[in-house]
């Protein structure tokens, strides 16, 4: 087998599973170490470099990093990466003076962004320090997009959101509130050097069944949440049915509980295994005494016509029996049932829609009537017009919106400077030895077997008093101190120098997780049969050395279960194995290639 090329940044980047899984590639292990050292501001800034909204994300992120976390391979629960981010955000000092500022002299280029959601804000964040003049057009009276209008304040306090939006707007962004873009054509006519569309996926899906238009008490989830956020709605009936079981449904049911809903039910067509909502969102809803009914499909709304104008009194459902056959869900209809209710909230999805984009501008649409956007450059078929966030490929989440924005900003910068969009600054890396002494490392290498910290919640009575009571209390200092110790420092890489190895086997003997093997050369498939322990994850590349000096065998490492304890390096007499800190260099717009 050819020696693995560990000089390309991707190899070691993949070993940092959380960072690899994070769409914005946040340097998780490093910020966790900074928190461990009490350097909250530094931890915050490191986060902000990648994900722009650490305070918001530390409370709301979809956290794709956590299921990827290496800790889940040696123990069932991942490191609480997301809530540690919140610790940094909560305990940081004022960072105004520490973040990149816009230069006094502008570069003369004007960029228009549509929508003031996380996507557009992050684009502005990247472009302002380069001297661009950025104008954001926002339909609503406040910035933040769905973070403002849909994520309820008991999950995300307004102050946290305000602070992080201000950091960007204060760079000198020109935000026009109450300024919906109604025509792309006229916007283009204003002669901007580039346009970024960050208008999200603002249309909630409808459920067109009998009775749908016969009562004002049937709401579209995302519109209803927006009305609550802007305090246009302050009450709901006692009996509420939520249709759908995604994350929007969870916010709708929990919000209902705070606006007077006493008997709130979430109605699901399929069994729990098929729910779209994140497990933690389901748990939080159930903690608030929300009932989730499975195998119910809505049939019609039941309206009492005797009441003038029609009164919603219930909803009829088809019930099913579910079982799995050959891994597939098979549902058999059983009976029908009517459940009484005062209000129904439809939370069955949302989609992008662009009625304001004229179809003769050269912006090509696909069969779903959405613009065709390039996956790398984020440009549509009309040069100079870029898309990102939910507007690009439909609803995703905040961290994806931010990741899109960084890439779109690179494209916008290239576009404005006549650099081909495909000419993108490459990822880089640095590796620095973590050795500080014979048995001393620049990180805490001991494995701590403590379990995941449990987030404390405000009690039910207190939290139902107002929409504004944040449910999660955040980690206390003891919890933080233990939780940071659970991180396996996956960025501290094991790096091998074959010329030094004397094949004493010490590294192999000491490794607690049987990651290492010295074996005669062969192709990768054969080598996998020679490993000390069978590989659990075949998508994980083998780290293979060049032939070793004494016997020409190869040193092999299966990275999958390595806990970065550093014992291999410590027991190596020649430092053929060394622990080296990996830093990914993620270029932003304007970086030198």
């Amino acid at each position: 087998m050819d020696p693995t090329n560990v000089r390309k940044p991707d190899y070691f980047h993949k070993v940092v599973d959380c960072q690899w899984a994070c769409p914005a590639h946040t340097n998780v292990p490093e910020y966790i170490r900074l928190i461990a050292q009490g350097r909250y501001t530094d931890a915050y800034l490191l986060n902000r470099e990648s994900n722009v909204f650490p305070g918001v994300l530390g409370r709301t992120c979809d956290r794709p990093c956590e299921p990827a976390c290496r800790r889940t391979r040696v123990e069932d629960k991942p490191v609480a990466i997301c809530r540690l981010k919140r610790v940094a955000a909560d305990l940081r000092d004022d960072v105004t003076a520490l973040i990149p500022q816009a230069p006094k002299t502008k570069n003369g280029k004007r960029v228009a962004c549509i929508g003031a959601g996380p996507a557009s804000l992050a684009v502005a964040n990247d472009l302002m320090p380069l001297g661009y003049s950025v104008t954001i057009f926002e339909k609503l009276s406040k910035a933040g997009g769905l973070m403002r209008s849909n994520i309820p304040s008991f999950r995300l306090p307004a102050k946290v959101l305000d602070d992080e939006i201000e950091m960007i707007v204060n760079l000198g962004v020109d935000v026009r509130y109450g300024a919906p873009v109604k025509s792309m054509k006229s916007l283009l006519a204003e002669g901007y050097d580039a346009v970024f569309v960050g208008s999200g996926a603002p249309r909630g899906k409808n459920l067109d069944i009998p009775g749908r238009y016969d009562s004002p008490r049937i709401h579209i989830g995302i519109d209803w949440l927006e009305s609550v956020a802007f305090e246009h709605i302050e009450k709901i009936g006692e009996k509420v049915l939520i249709i759908g079981v995604g994350n929007t449904a969870m916010d709708c049911c929990r919000t209902s509980r705070r606006l007077g809903g006493k008997d709130v039910k979430v109605m699901a067509r399929k069994p729990r295994k098929y729910f779209k909502a994140s497990p933690w969102e389901l748990e939080d809803a159930e903690e608030e005494q929300i009932e989730i009914l499975i195998n119910h499909e809505p049939v019609r709304f039941v309206i009492d016509d005797l009441v003038p104008g029609g009164k919603l009194v219930g909803m009829e459902f088809q019930r099913y029996e579910s079982k799995e056959e050959g891994g597939k869900l098979v549902q058999k209809a059983t009976d029908k049932i009517i459940l009484p209710c005062d209000d129904v909230i439809l939370a069955i999805g949302q989609e992008a829609s662009f009625p304001w984009i004229e179809r003769d501008l050269g912006i090509e649409m696909d069969k779903w009537d959405c613009p065709i956007v390039d996956k790398t450059t984020f440009q549509c078929s009309l040069p100079g017009v870029f898309f990102g966030g939910d507007a690009a490929w439909g609803p995703a989440n905040i961290i994806w919106a931010v990741a899109h924005a960084h890439d779109a900003a690179i494209s916008i910068h290239n576009h404005c400077n006549n650099i081909p969009l495909t000419d993108r600054p490459a990822h880089g890396m640095t590796l620095v030895s973590a050795k500080m002494g014979l048995h001393e490392w620049s990180y805490k290498n001991d494995y701590n077997s403590v379990g995941r910290a449990k987030m404390k919640h405000v009690d039910l009575v207190e939290r139902f008093k107002s929409m504004k009571v944040e449910v999660e209390e955040g980690f206390d200092p003891e919890q933080t101190a233990l939780e940071v110790a659970r991180c396996l420092n996956c960025d501290i890489q094991t790096v091998f120098t074959e010329a030094l190895c004397i094949e004493c086997d010490a590294c192999i003997d000491v490794c607690p997780l049987a990651c290492l093997t010295i074996a005669p050369d062969g192709d990768e498939k054969t080598l996998r049969t020679r490993l000390t322990a069978p590989a659990m994850n075949l998508t994980q590349e083998l780290y293979a050395s060049a032939p070793l000096p004494q016997t020409k065998r190869l040193m092999l490492k299966d990275e999958d279960l390595c806990v970065h304890c550093g014992l291999c390096a410590e027991r190596c007499p020649t430092a053929a194995w060394d622990m080296q800190k990996f830093d990914l260099f993620m270029p932003r717009a304007g970086a030198k290639t």
Partner: protein
């Protein structure tokens, strides 16, 4: 040495043995030897051997003398009984312990200094007595613990770290053991666990004293150019003579090898050692032939390795002394010591 303990987390695919224990349950404390010491690899091989043999940790007794090698029993099977004797005295202590309790599995770990310098007489007599034990010499040609003086196994001409050559002729434990009637004699290399583990397993199952001389480089004081006990020298000059396979009792035995090149020896408990002859004319059951072959190869500068001699018909200490089957430690005191009247009667008999 390392400051942190080896984390308890383990690979999910680790197999449990018949006792429900994984290989990690046979480990001991963290080694405090120099990083890269051959002895640590021997320790890892011992851990594997006991795990694979399903030996209950509490029925193992691990004994040693003084030296880096003699420190290693601390690093395997923490659940076993242990004893650190005075320098070179491990064989006497094992003899006593084995006499008192024949039920335990005995492993003595020693060094070339411990066994061939100060403890030569002790070792020789344990071999003659044929104590039922696995006797491992971790042979590095020096006194590692006292900073690298030549031991009695250092070859003539082998250079010390400072460049001086040894002038006294070496004691080869293999030749010595063969000449005084040892019934199980093997040599292996710490850097080759595939060969070492089956030899250790066969040695543990052998009824009588199984001597295993393991070349185990001292990475700090004897791994330089000019040393004949370094990793490089051993790799270059080792001559595989016999490769042993240990097949536990009641396991099917496949015979894929060409006849004549494989010889099988059935052990007391029914397990089998299969001996693959790498050197075709070698017979590991013929003491004289083995002796002359090994003598000639050693003179030519080769280091013959493998299970070099085995005799399952030898008489082990308890058989020789016709002791009762029950461990003496469990025989009631009145029976063990019938009293002064009985002694008087016995003496009377000889007067």
């Amino acid at each position: 040495m390392s400051y942190i303990k080896k984390p308890a987390v383990r690979h999910p695919s680790l197999q449990a043995n018949a006792l429900g224990l994984t290989v990690r349950d046979y480990e001991g404390a963290m080694s405090t030897l120099c990083a890269g010491c051959g002895h640590d690899s021997v320790t890892a091989a011992i851990v594997r051997a006991f795990h694979e043999l399903d030996t209950p940790p509490h029925l193992i007794a691990k004994l040693s003398g003084i030296g880096c090698s003699s420190k290693t029993p601390t690093y395997f099977v923490s659940g076993a009984h242990g004893f650190n004797s005075a320098h070179g005295r491990m064989p006497a202590i094992v003899s006593g312990a084995a006499a008192a309790n024949r039920e335990l599995t005995y492993i003595g770990v020693s060094g070339d200094g411990d066994s061939l310098s100060i403890g030569l007489g002790q070792m020789a007599h344990a071999i003659r007595r044929n104590v039922n034990m696995l006797y491992v010499i971790e042979n590095n040609g020096v006194y590692g613990l006292t900073k690298g003086q030549f031991s009695a196994s250092a070859d003539v001409g082998s250079k010390s770290k400072k460049g001086e050559a040894n002038t006294q002729s070496p004691i080869d434990p293999i030749m010595l053991a063969l000449s005084i009637g040892a019934t199980f004699v093997a040599r292996s290399f710490s850097g080759d666990k595939a060969a070492l583990v089956p030899i250790l397993k066969a040695g543990i199952r052998h009824k009588g004293l199984a001597l295993v001389d393991v070349l185990s480089p001292c990475v700090t004081f004897n791994d330089h150019e000019g040393s004949t006990k370094s990793y490089t020298h051993t790799r270059k000059h080792q001559l595989p003579v016999i490769e042993a396979d240990f097949v536990p009792r009641r396991s099917p035995i496949e015979t894929s090898q060409a006849p004549g090149t494989v010889q099988t020896v059935t052990m007391h408990d029914g397990s089998v050692v299969r001996l693959h002859k790498v050197a075709a004319d070698y017979d590991p059951t013929d003491r004289e032939k083995a002796w002359s072959f090994l003598h000639a190869r050693a003179a030519a500068g080769d280091i013959p390795v493998g299970l070099l001699y085995i005799d399952e018909k030898g008489t082990e200490m308890h058989a020789g002394n016709k002791t009762v089957a029950q461990p003496l430690s469990q025989v009631p005191f009145e029976q063990l010591c019938p009293g002064s009247a009985a002694l008087e009667a016995l003496q009377q008999h000889y007067r």
